[in-house]
């Protein structure tokens, strides 16, 4: 039986498990065997996007507006395609400059401005604290509901209870403790929180599995599948009302999708996991599809649960936001209810922990540090600042969570809390122009960014936050209806008479218009100063530089001073290690007595940026280094020179690559020439050999006949016969060599026209008839009826056929020889095969016989007249007409020579073999 103690203990066990995972991952990271350096873990950690608002709220939204819950997930899915460029650039910039928060990102881009960082921090805190409150509410409500198992009781208003009895307070305090343990282990915020990320990835799995478990139970346990639920809902008239009542107009689809697409990278916690905690740029490519897939999976069962909830609790007594929990309770599934509660807990805690860490970094670096720096200007600075920084961070974490709790306690069930998710999204969307614009536009200045953010934020406050207060009853409704002081034009949700939009679209339209307008206009009023120009270049050209442009600093500083300064914030050991690695990478030792060069100063500043933010780091470095300010002209000069040097070195690289390529080509050509030379050499040597062989017989017999008059008449006749035969062989050889040389050099003469293969076969058999009869060989033809025309040179094809037939007859056994000639047609070509029942050709020789002067074993014995060129020439002829000639020889079944020719009168051969480089080519067809 579930009950308070069991739920509390289970919750603690769950949080303990999270902590164990984080601890384990941190240990692994210390040992250099990171568990989070994996693209899947990265994608899962991004799913911190899915909070309790998703876990419980999606069902509620589905009940309210049908498929209106979808844009929140559709937006990021579509937006993910842009990550390849946008997120990559954000990560590249942030890594190279140790940027650890959105506030620092925007401030650093616009000349490292404290003011800008502070403004961004304020917007983030104001925008996101209510969102944190929502998570606290979700946890405390789900806890309360589960406590009353098996009854289903909606939690009463939290404000009714004394504070010390309020679950949400303890949840907030507990989470603050956890966040401190997770998040402030290291001081340098640019160091990745490996344990935290591992725990978040784990939480993403838990919430997905839990929601899916409830979904499966509802869909397949309570009903007979998706179709069954749909049908029953249809019968109850639910579908109708849900689909019709959908308050999501086309315009809202766009607005919500756009907001969500922005939020998924601009929410402080998303920036934290996507950019700060990213361990490799390569992980983006998997996140681009895996994260949308996660969103799809977590949304599959939203509609079924929403419908089943309405069917189960038709009286509307049960809040749709609690269906994920109340459905299992209503059906007596206590363990499923417990698991569902844990899923919601994991969704809420993941969000709260990461969001709070991200916000606390911003509050510490961009709100508290500037004040402390001013304070220390007049007073003595404590020697060890690490402890101070840690205390500030921890204080900020507590502060933010308490703020969240306070908001929850005050707002309670009010409207201001219910729709806070989108309100928060609209707040962080204000970062888009300065952040994304700043990555691609050099013209943005500090003043422009301040104006844009200020304008956008003000309108957001006025048109969205204040009205939400009014709707909660804290402001008079007349403020909402007829504007302040009755000025209709200033009515917050119909600003300047703009009506007919829902509140979010209305706010987004006005705030972004004002934001972008002010950012552009104010930025353009005055050209960027030296600092802004330098920083703009670092951001906009991030993908071009391999390392940040240095040399944008001139002045006097000592390395020892810089190290002492950094040690105050980061600890001596860490700084020593960092500087040692730095000089090792540069390949120079440093001399403490020497003044620090620009690169060293830059390094020290970057190192400090990781701990205290870019603006504060700049101020601190300036306190130990006498900087001579660079004028805008000088900065532009340095940047110009850098880009000139880059262009020049690119040109050099290009030239040297071209040279290398040319050399490689030459070398290749040379090798090819040598090979050709060798081939020609071998050919000449073979031809010589082939010529000398018949000449030897001719000479020997001639000499013998000349010298010896006593030779018998029979012998004389025989010898003369041999001489004549060898002379014929010589003639044939000379002809074939010339023939082959012509074909190979492309100077062959071809008379192309339509050739009927059937007729050609018959003619070839007639011509060689005597050979077959002499050897007692049986010839069979298998020629089907039909059209067998190909485009070729008739005499040449006949030459091929005669060659194949005379080869065949050469090898068949005398008296029992059998040759089968087959003609067949495929889809695109015809095939002619000549099969014999001779000894066949061994596998090793089947390709060899197509090489010049390579005859099969025993060839010479059977036919001393063979030249060894017949098959190579035949192959050349067939290939000239786009065909193919080959041999098969199944063991013990003789040899089958076949060729294939493309069908019909397609005009192919000349162009295919390249008549352009065959000047002597004559096509008389």
């Amino acid at each position: 039986m579930l009950g308070g103690p069991l739920i509390v203990v289970t919750s603690f066990l769950y949080l303990g498990l999270l902590f164990a995972i984080a601890y384990w991952a941190d240990r692994r990271a210390d040992q250099g065997r990171s568990v989070i350096a994996h693209p899947t873990v990265y994608a899962l950690s991004l799913a911190v996007y899915c909070t309790a608002w998703t876990y419980y709220g999606s069902v509620g939204r589905a009940v309210q507006s049908g498929i209106g819950f979808l844009p929140i997930y559709l937006g990021p899915t579509l937006g993910a395609a842009l990550w390849v460029f946008l997120l990559l650039k954000m990560i590249r910039v942030s890594k190279s400059q140790r940027i650890t928060s959105i506030a620092d990102f925007i401030s650093s881009r616009h000349g490292k401005s404290h003011l800008l960082g502070g403004l961004v921090t304020v917007i983030a805190v104001v925008g996101v604290v209510p969102y944190i409150a929502l998570q606290l509410k979700a946890v405390s409500n789900s806890f309360t509901i589960l406590m009353h198992y098996p009854d289903i009781t909606m939690p009463g208003s939290a404000t009714a209870l004394p504070i010390w009895q309020d679950t949400a307070l303890y949840v907030a305090l507990l989470l603050a403790l956890f966040t401190i343990l997770f998040g402030t282990r290291h001081l340098d915020a640019s160091e990745r929180h490996e344990g935290l990320v591992a725990a978040i990835a784990f939480e993403s799995i838990v919430k997905l599995v839990a929601l899916t478990a409830v979904g499966l139970f509802v869909t397949f346990g309570l009903y007979g599948g998706f179709a069954d639920i749909m049908q029953q809902a249809q019968e109850a008239g639910l579908l109708q009302s849900m689909m019709n009542a959908t308050s999501v107009s086309d315009q809202n689809w766009f607005t919500f999708s756009f907001l969500a697409a922005m939020a998924v990278i601009l929410l402080p916690r998303q920036f934290q996991v996507a950019v700060v905690e990213n361990s490799s740029e390569r992980h983006i490519s998997r996140a681009v599809w895996l994260f949308p897939l996660y969103l799809l999976l977590i949304n599959i069962f939203v509609l079924p649960i929403a419908l089943a909830g309405q069917l189960a609790f038709p009286d509307g007594r049960v809040d749709a936001d609690t269906f994920v929990l109340t459905l299992p309770i209503a059906h007596g599934q206590e363990w499923l209810a417990m698991f569902s509660y844990l899923g919601g807990l994991s969704a809420a805690t993941g969000m709260v922990i990461v969001e709070t860490i991200a916000l606390s970094t911003m509050v510490c670096n961009d709100l508290v540090m500037p004040v402390l720096l001013r304070h220390w200007r007049t007073r003595s600075v404590p020697a060890d600042l690490t402890a101070v920084l840690l205390r500030v961070r921890r204080g900020a974490i507590f502060g933010i969570l308490l703020l969240g709790y306070t908001y929850f306690h005050v707002a309670g069930e009010a409207y201001a809390l219910v729709s806070i998710g989108l309100i928060s999204f609209a707040a962080v969307a204000q970062f888009a122009p300065t952040m994304i614009g700043g990555l691609y536009w050099r013209g943005g200045t500090e003043a422009g960014a301040l104006a844009g953010l200020g304008a956008g934020f003000t309108i957001w406050l006025y048109t969205l936050l204040l009205p939400s207060f009014a709707k909660s009853g804290w402001l008079p409704m007349t403020f909402l209806d007829s504007g302040p002081f009755g000025i209709n034009l200033l009515a917050p949700q119909a600003l300047f008479g703009l009506q007919g939009m829902n509140e979010i679209s209305h706010t987004l339209f006005w705030s972004l218009t004002a934001n972008i307008g002010a950012y552009l206009t104010v930025s353009l009023l005055r050209p960027p100063n030296a600092e802004e120009t330098a920083q703009a270049s670092l951001f906009v050209d991030a993908m071009k530089y391999d390392r940040p442009a240095i040399g944008l600093w001139r002045g006097n500083a000592e390395v020892t001073e810089l190290k002492r300064l950094a040690s105050r914030f980061l600890g001596r050991d860490k700084v020593d290690t960092a500087f040692a690695e730095f000089s090792r990478n540069r390949g120079t030792g440093y001399n403490p007595a020497q003044p620090a060069d620009a690169e060293t100063v830059h390094f020290a500043e970057t190192l400090l940026t990781g701990a205290i933010g870019s603006a504060s780091a700049r101020v601190m470095v300036a306190s130990v280094a006498q900087e001579e300010p660079l004028g805008l002209e000088e900065v532009m000069g340095i940047l110009d020179e850098a880009s000139r040097i880059r262009a020049y070195s690119k040109e050099l690289e290009q030239k040297s690559r071209e040279l290398e390529a040319a050399t490689a080509e030459l070398r290749e050509a040379n090798t090819r020439l040598q090979e050709l030379d060798q081939l020609k050499d071998d050919f000449m040597s073979s031809v010589t050999h082939e010529l000398r062989t018949p000449l030897t017989s001719i000479r020997a017999f001639s000499e013998m006949l000349l010298d010896d008059p006593r030779i018998k008449l029979d012998d004389r006749k025989r010898f003369l016969g041999i001489i004549v035969g060898e002379t014929e062989r010589l003639t044939r050889l000379v002809n074939q060599v010339l023939d082959l040389a012509r074909i190979e050099s492309g100077r062959g003469e071809w008379t192309t026209g339509e050739v009927d293969l059937a007729q050609l076969i018959r003619q070839s058999i007639e011509t060689t008839g005597q050979l077959f009869r002499d050897k007692g060989t049986e010839v069979e033809t298998r020629i089907p009826e039909g059209d067998f025309r190909v485009w070729a040179d008739r005499d040449r094809l006949l030459q091929v056929m005669l060659n194949l037939l005379s080869n065949a007859v050469k090898f068949v056994p005398a008296g029992s020889g059998r040759i089968i000639i087959t003609l067949s047609g495929g889809d695109e070509d015809y095939q002619v095969s000549v099969a014999d029942n001779g000894p066949g050709i061994s596998a090793g020789q089947q390709e060899q016989i197509f090489e010049k002067f390579q005859r099969g074993d025993g060839d010479n014995l059977a036919n001393p007249m063979g030249t060894g060129l017949g098959l190579p020439i035949s192959r050349q002829i067939i290939e000239h007409f786009g065909g193919h000639l080959w041999v098969e020889s199944p063991p013990g079944k003789g040899a089958i020579f076949s060729f294939r020719m493309p069908k019909g009168s397609a005009k192919l051969p000349a162009s295919e073999t390249g008549s352009s480089d065959e000047p002597a080519y004559i096509d008389r067809g």
């Binding site: 030897t696 000479r699 020997a700 060898e726 074993d857 025993g858 010479n860 014995l861």
Partner: protein
């Protein structure tokens, strides 16, 4: 007993002509048509002299020559390379492998006969 000469050549007509030529000179002549058969006949028949072609199926002339020269029992067999490969390199290779003479095709019949006679002289 007349001396025995083995002709190893895959060219039938050349074998016929040399066979006729040497028989007329009074030698006992036999013919093998490839390297393998040639080597076997050398081992079996122990001819006094072998006329050895180089380009042959199965075993080429160089391989036969090498095998013969590695067999001490065949030390008395004289070898004349008879080949259409006329390059100096081939000739040197043949002689280096232990051939006693090297005659290029096409050859003068008289020269062949006198070369054979000269090689067989000392033992008669």
């Amino acid at each position: 007993m007349s001396q025995h000469i083995l002709i190893v050549d895959d060219e039938k007509n050349i074998a016929i002509s040399v066979d006729y030529l040497l028989r007329r000179e009074g030698y006992e002549v036999s013919v093998a048509h490839d390297g393998e058969e040639g080597l076997r006949r050398i081992r079996d028949d122990r001819p006094d002299l072998v006329l050895l072609d180089i380009m042959m199926p199965k075993l080429n002339g160089f391989e036969v020559c090498e095998a013969v020269r590695q067999d001490p029992e065949l030390a008395g067999v004289r070898i004349v390379m008879l080949t259409a490969k006329g390059r100096d390199a081939e000739k040197e290779k043949g002689l280096a492998l232990g051939a006693d003479a090297y005659i290029t095709k096409p050859f003068a019949t008289r020269e062949l006969v006198s070369q054979v006679k000269a090689l067989l002289q000392p033992t008669t």
